[in-house]
Symmetry: C2
Subunit: 343 residues, 2 copies
């Protein structure tokens, strides 16, 4: 396991979506975070104390979380330089980037000299098998998206917590670096060898017979030309009984691809249902989750109502409005109301 | 490059589909093959002289091609033992399996001692980028399939040769181990890290402006629960102007998955066209290719005629009947008739 407490890295980032791993840690493991590291040109903050590496070590931090991610997951010169400084200050370093920390000779040497560890959480399991699509027992929900970074992980965690608050066994199955860092386990599905995408998910959420739910974090979008292959293999491997579609209203274009419009919600949901039926013929949509953090509460509620009317499914912002409407549809017999989990 | 001539490995295989790499080499590079290696329990043959490793070396063979493939691409004890015998006889060894030859300590040591090479053709390029789906110039055709191993590679090569015989520039873009061994280049798309599936194909078939065609070998099937993610990423990366759907009539179930029926041809074609439109809005289907090798010539012709009537597209067996009907639709202005390329 990666030693807490953590220092969260923002670096030079100016793009709120690029720091989503650090933000996820600040949101879901805040009690384990002593501060944030950012350069002077970084306009973003997670609301944690701004610390340099030495200050963080003095404040008790044990690991720098390189919680930033661009397409391609490259470990650029800035990240290497700052990681080296962290190691020199006595911090372990954890990263979810494709490019591995241990493959940088300078960082590998520094870590060895100081007796510190480099954690590459995107390393796939060694023993993956090809997926088979055989029906397996268990209750599985998958979040899917109109795009990358629209709130699939947050939604999945909120649904997991909500089910638990209703007394139903539920496990969050992380498929991306942020989720894995939060949960402490999972598989970075975009980092497995392509032949094993669906097999990795069959292994992550295997047959279960305790009436509990596996809540599987989706990745990418069937409509994203960079990552749709990952999304489809994940969908087939998840063999979901239930889908929740996630969206960020008002996004101007698909993540990283100016000029490419997001799909219509209904079209996106139907495409996911059609594809999911290959391994889960009775799959159903149980709700829509929007990230309405740019809207005020009234506008968010109105937006959700209008989507509910249009698609005939509960729609909510899981952070602002909770996920009860979706849980009521997913498990109608469960009566305990969850409270709003996050704010 | 992998030194010819070759000895083709069949091993203990009893499944004709498992030896498709060796068969592909025997079909398309027969002049470079001195023989086949098979154990006594192997009922298959490629019609080449049966040689053991020493006999093959004496006959001039320079490389053993481990041309067999099961799901998962494992390098089992038999393959390791036989590869060691080949190295001891002075042969290089080439493999398209996921598990790499060089990762077996015994083979690595033997190769080093004898000054021989281990070729792992599934190694992906080091410099892959994430796909973008941006429109790029060029003419691209992709073969897609109802299932794995239904003739996509053979079809792609036949179309490439046919275009060349009509005086049109055409390049075969290999995406699997067999195609790469035949062409001497390409990228094994099922072996790239999942995030880079579409990016790998954008790099394999980049923008071109010489009026020539890239003919891209498809992999798997959108309807195969093990591999559909690879097929979709490949489809998006290929950005095809034209699709050819490949099928093996009469196959009892999806490859490796007893009980799972193959998709209907029209449904499969429509799903591929719908998915392809994400990066190539004007994509068109230009033909159907069937592997009718189990039928006699008359039955094959009748089958093709009935598919033509049903789908309104030219249908042929590329090996038995050639690909002229498809080329006439693809490039109506080209008049030179190709001959049947293979028999």
């Amino acid at each position: 396991m990666i030693p807490a407490p953590f220092l969260l890295y923002l670096g030079h980032s100016a793009d709120p979506l690029a720091i989503k791993t650090s933000r996820g840690m600040a949101m879901f493991r805040r009690e384990d975070c002593v501060g944030e590291f950012r350069h002077d040109d970084c306009p973003l903050t997670l609301g944690l104390p701004r610390l340099n590496m030495k200050e963080a070590a003095a404040a008790g931090a044990r690991t720098l979380i390189l919680g930033i991610a661009g397409a391609g997951g490259k470990l650029g010169p800035d990240l290497i330089e700052d990681s080296a400084t962290a190691l020199e200050a006595g911090l372990h370093v954890a990263s979810g980037l494709h490019q591995r920390l241990r493959d940088d000779p300078r960082l590998a040497a520094l870590a060895q000299q100081r007796g510190l560890e480099l954690f590459d959480v995107r390393d796939p399991p060694a023993d993956l098998a090809v997926g088979k699509g055989e029906r397996r027992p268990g209750n599985r929900l998958l979040t899917v998206g109109t795009d990358c970074s629209v709130g699939k992980m947050v939604t999945t965690i909120a649904l997991t917590e909500g089910l638990r608050q209703r007394g139903i066994r539920a496990d969050f199955r992380a498929t991306g670096q942020t989720g894995i860092l939060i949960a402490g386990e999972g598989v970075a599905v975009d980092a497995v060898v392509a032949d094993f995408i669906s097999g990795a998910i069959e292994q992550l959420a295997p047959a279960r017979s305790d009436d509990g739910w596996d809540l599987i974090e989706g990745q990418g979008s069937l409509f994203h030309p960079s990552f749709a292959g990952v999304s489809l293999g994940l969908l087939h491997g998840a063999q979901p009984d239930a889908l929740v579609l996630c969206d960020e209203p008002g996004r101007p274009h698909m993540r990283g691809i100016p000029g490419r419009a997001l799909p219509d919600l209904a079209e996106c949901l139907e495409a996911n249902l059609a594809a999911a039926r290959l391994t889960s013929p009775d799959v159903e949509a149980v709700g829509i989750c929007v990230n309405a953090s740019r809207l005020d509460a009234l506008a968010a509620r109105r937006l959700c109502d209008s989507i509910e009317d249009r698609l005939g499914l509960p729609c909510t912002d899981p952070v602002a409005l909770g996920v009860d409407a979706i849980l009521d549809k997913l498990c109608p017999e469960s009566s305990t109301r969850s409270t709003i989990a996050f704010r």
